[in-house]
């Protein structure tokens, strides 16, 4: 018989590990961690404001047709348009559209997405959007518009967002 077997056979008493100190430690640690844990997950949206810069005429010629989408958030809806250095004005004028808000209800974000998706499909290299809200438009509406304009169904529409005030 092996030594271990003999020890078991001789009726070696089973000893319980004293878990009380470990429990005490847990009881101190858990309230401490619960106090400092955050239940809100703050995320970020990268945005910039327009700044003056020196023009780079002829420095880098556009490889593909690229437009910058403009969304003006007005009290009565959205005004979508596009500007570009590489696309003719007549062509850009076709993209000028108004998405009306009916009876002060919520802003028609789905119609805004539809218009921006069409623009993106026509000019796939485009990635910049300028949002120009009216002074009375609340911040929540601006963020909602940014959300739908940046990504739709996990596809990038216009991920680079520039926030600008109205001039004049």
């Amino acid at each position: 018989m092996s030594k271990l077997g003999r020890h078991r056979a001789s009726g070696g008493e089973q000893t319980d590990i004293d878990m009380v100190p470990v429990m005490n430690m847990f009881l101190v640690l858990i309230p401490f961690l619960l106090m400092s844990v955050s239940f809100f997950h703050i995320k970020a949206i990268n945005t910039s404001v327009p700044v003056l810069s020196q023009s780079q005429d002829g420095a880098d010629k556009p490889i593909s047709e690229k437009v910058t989408a403009i969304v003006e958030i007005e009290p009565n809806g959205f005004h979508v348009s596009a500007i570009s250095d590489s696309v003719a004005y007549d062509e850009l004028d076709k993209w000028d559209a108004r998405v009306a808000r009916k009876d002060q209800a919520e802003y028609p974000l789905d119609q805004l997405v539809a218009q921006l998706t069409r623009l993106k499909l026509r000019y796939p290299a485009s990635d910049t959007l300028i949002i120009i809200p009216d002074g009375t438009v609340i911040y929540d509406t601006i963020i909602q518009a940014m959300d739908v304009a940046r990504y739709h169904n996990n596809d990038a529409l216009f991920p680079n967002v520039v926030l600008s005030g109205k001039v004049g």
């Binding site: 878990m19 009380v20 470990v22 429990m23 847990f26 009881l27 640690l29 858990i30 961690l33 619960l34 400092s36 844990v37 955050s38 809100f40 997950h41 703050i42 995320k43 970020a44 949206i45 990268n46 945005t47 910039s48 404001v49 327009p50 700044v51 809200p133 009216d134 002074g135 009375t136 438009v137 609340i138 911040y139 929540d140 601006i142 963020i143 909602q144 940014m146 959300d147 940046r150 990504y151 926030l163 005030g165």
Partner: protein, 162 residues
């Protein structure tokens, strides 16, 4: 006799052994969960009780930046109150003369000191901007403009994850 019975019963009483193994298991799981929820946060920040951040589908973590908080009652820069908000107007932030504001002055001095330390003025600087979702754009625009003029044109808008 009734008392005699009670005496006998007390004598036989064996204190029950507390089974703490299951409780230990539970505590271990809670502890691991809490430690994990700690690990992926750049820093903790405190927000006003009356502050309501907008919700967004954005999934980008914020960086360690200069914190600019605009609530319905105050404007804070790096945790210090630098202005009060009344009826959507920031006291001490004149939209026509932003360069005289405390916000502009403080941000400009911060930028100059960080530029000196870094030795490069072209590094991309960000401001983490936390703003109450009920504020109108005319209020926000003053703050954003003043920050851009002070050399911080790039922002990270803080939002709550949907």
């Amino acid at each position: 006799m009734a008392f005699g019975k009670l005496k006998k019963h007390t004598k036989d009483f064996v204190p029950p052994k507390l089974q703490i193994t299951s409780m230990m298991d539970m505590f271990t799981i809670i502890l691991i969960f809490l430690l994990f929820s700690f690990s992926n946060k750049p820093e903790t920040m405190s927000l006003h009780k009356d502050m309501k951040l907008p919700e967004s589908t954005a999934d980008l973590d914020y960086r360690e930046n200069i914190n600019l908080v605009l609530s319905q009652t105050s404007l804070e820069l790096g945790g210090k109150v630098i202005g009060t908000v009344k009826d959507g107007t920031i006291i001490g932030l004149d939209p026509k003369n932003l360069k005289t504001s405390t916000l502009y002055e403080r941000l400009r001095s911060t930028r100059e000191s960080t530029d000196k330390l870094a030795g490069d003025s072209n590094t991309k600087r960000h401001i983490l901007f936390l703003c109450d979702k009920r504020l109108p754009f005319k209020t926000i625009n003053c703050v954003v403009k003043a920050a851009a003029m002070a050399g911080y044109p790039n922002f990270q808008f803080g939002v709550l994850k949907k």
